[in-house]
Amino acid sequence: MSYSCTSTGNSQDPSSSNKSGGGVNPGSCSGSSSSGVSSSNSSSSSSVSSGGGGGGSSASHSVRGGKSDSKPASAEAMKVKKGCNTTDVGVPVTTEEELLANTIITPEDVLGLQKITENYLCSPEDNIYNIDFTRFKIRDMETGTVLFEITKPPASDKGGEKRDIDPNAGRFVRYQFTPAFLRLRQVGATVEFTVGDIPINNFRMIERHYFRDQLLKSFDFEFGFCIPSSKNTCEHIYEFPPLSEDIMREMILHPYETQSDSFYFVDNKLVMHNKADYSYSGGP
C-alpha cells in the first residue's frame, strides 16, 4: 500500500523569488507504507546558532496573550510548548538503552534523549487506542502555498492477502525537499488523526529533530482529550529561526542525516513512535 503524495506547490523557479519564503519548489516524499503517516514535522528547523553547540539561540517562541482563567494546566488543556532547544532544565539525560529496559516510557524519559534512537521504543501493538494518522500537510504561511501533503488511502485490506512487509514500514517516512525549504520562515503543519472507541484523556506528542545527532529542536504538543471514534485535525504554525549558511550547507550536502523521532503518549505512557528523515538536496 502506498501513500498518495501530492506536492502542490508553485512550480515557479525558486531563483525568481524575491522574498525569503517565496518560490519554493514543492518537495516530494517516498513513504513505505501501511499504517500511519509520520506526523513528524518535516520542517526541521535548525535553531543552532553559528557558534555551534546545542545551547544555541532560542528557537521560535510564542507570546501568549495573557493568562488563561483556569487552574494550572491539567491533563486536558491543549497547549504547545515551542522552542525547547536542549534538554529541559531539570530533565535528566537518558539513553535509548535505559529506556528500552523500562516497561513504561514517559514524556520525561524521551525529553532526556540526546540523539536519534537506533530502534523504535515501542512496538506497533502498543497502539492500543488505535490512533491512526490519516493526513499530513505543510504550507508556507507567507504565501499560503501548500508545500506538501500526504494522505493515507482508505483501508483496503484484501482479505487473506498476507504480504511480506516490514512491520515498521508504516512508522517511517522519508522526506525530500529542495534547498529552498530551509529558507522558509513560517510553516503551518497540519496533522489529522483518528481515534478508536476508547476515549483518550491526555494525548501528547513530543517530536525531536536532530542533524547528525545534534538536537536541533524539540516540539511538545498536548492535544488533551480526544473524543472516541473521532477524527481530529491540528495545525500549528512553526516559526523558523534563521539558519546560518554553514548549517544549511551541511544539511543540504548530507541528505538524510537530518532525522526525527515522534513520540506519542496517552496518559503519559508511550504508545507510538514514528521516525522520519529528510533531504534538502532536491533530489532522491
Binding site: 501568549r64 496573550g65 495573557g66 482563567d69 483556569s70 473524543i227 471514534s229 477524527k231 516559526e239
Partner: protein, 234 residues
C-alpha cells in the same frame, strides 16, 4: 557614567540591533500574541468553512467535523489558536439534514447515522484554557433548531469555564434569503438581559464576505487584549 546615559546607550543598542535584524531579515519580527479560543455551534452552522476561509484554505470537501480541529489563524496583530469542536454526531459518515437535528435536546437516528452519541457532550472537556469563545449559528434554520441554538448559547454563556470570557457570536449564512436578520436574532437570544456584564459581539456573517468576518474577529481580538489590561476584573 550616569544611569541615564547608560540606559540611553542600552536602548540605542537595542533599537539599532532590532533595526539591523529587521533590515537584514536576520530574525522574525516581534512575535504576535497568541490567544486560545474555542469555536462551538451546532452542526452545519459553518464553523469549519469560516475558519478554513480565514486561513485562506479551500472549502471543497469539507465534511462534518467529528472531533476537534485546531487551527492557528493569523491576524495582523495576533494569532488565534482556534479549537473548533464538531457540533454533531460522532461516527456518522454522511451529512445532510439528519445531522443538523442531532442536538442535545433531540436525538434522531436515521438509517445511516451509526451512533447517536453526540459530540456536544464533550465540548466542556475543551473549555479549559480558553480565553475567548466563538459561537457560530446558521441564521436560516427552523424555529425548532433556533431554539436549540439558543439553549446551547445560554449554556455556554453560563458555563463556569466560559462565563467570564469574551464571546463572538456569528449569525452565519446571512447571504441566504431565508436568513433571520441580526437584530431579530439578538432579540430572540435575549442577549441584552442574559449576557449583561459580559463582553460579547453579535455580527452577521457569510463566507462570501470574509472582509467582514475578519473585522468581526478583530473586534474579538480587541476584547481579548482588553481583558489582559485589567486582569482583576470579571
Amino acid at each position: 557614567m550616569s544611569e541615564h546615559i547608560r540606559l540611553s546607550i542600552a536602548l540605542c543598542r537595542i533599537g539599532f540591533y532590532t533595526c539591523l535584524r529587521t533590515l537584514c531579515c536576520k530574525g522574525p519580527p516581534t512575535p504576535r500574541p497568541e490567544y486560545d479560543v474555542v469555536c462551538i455551534g451546532l452542526s452545519g452552522a459553518g464553523k469549519t468553512a469560516l475558519l478554513s476561509r480565514l486561513c485562506s484554505e479551500g472549502i471543497d470537501g469539507i465534511v462534518p467535523t467529528t472531533g476537534f480541529s485546531i487551527k492557528a489563524v493569523p491576524f495582523p496583530n495576533a494569532v488565534l489558536n482556534v479549537k473548533e469542536l464538531g457540533g454533531g454526531c460522532q461516527g456518522a459518515s454522511n451529512g445532510g439534514d439528519d445531522w443538523r437535528l442531532c442536538t442535545y435536546l433531540f436525538q434522531w437516528s436515521h438509517g445511516n447515522v451509526q451512533r447517536s452519541d453526540n459530540i456536544k457532550k464533550y465540548w466542556s472537556r475543551y473549555y479549559q484554557g480558553s480565553q475567548g469563545v466563538v459561537f457560530v449559528l446558521d441564521s436560516t434554520v427552523s424555529d425548532e433548531e433556533m431554539e436549540a441554538c439558543r439553549s446551547e448559547l445560554h449554556l455556554a454563556l453560563q458555563h463556569p469555564q466560559l462565563c467570564t470570557l469574551p464571546f463572538l457570536i456569528l449569525a452565519n449564512h446571512q447571504d441566504s434569503p431565508t436568513a433571520r436578520a441580526v437584530p431579530e436574532i439578538k432579540k430572540y437570544f435575549e442577549l441584552e438581559p442574559l449576557a449583561r456584564g459580559k463582553r460579547w459581539i453579535l455580527e452577521g456573517s457569510t463566507i462570501n464576505n470574509m472582509e467582514a468576518v475578519r473585522e468581526s474577529f478583530s473586534q474579538l481580538i480587541r476584547l481579548l487584549e482588553e481583558k489582559e489590561l485589567r486582569p482583576g476584573r470579571i
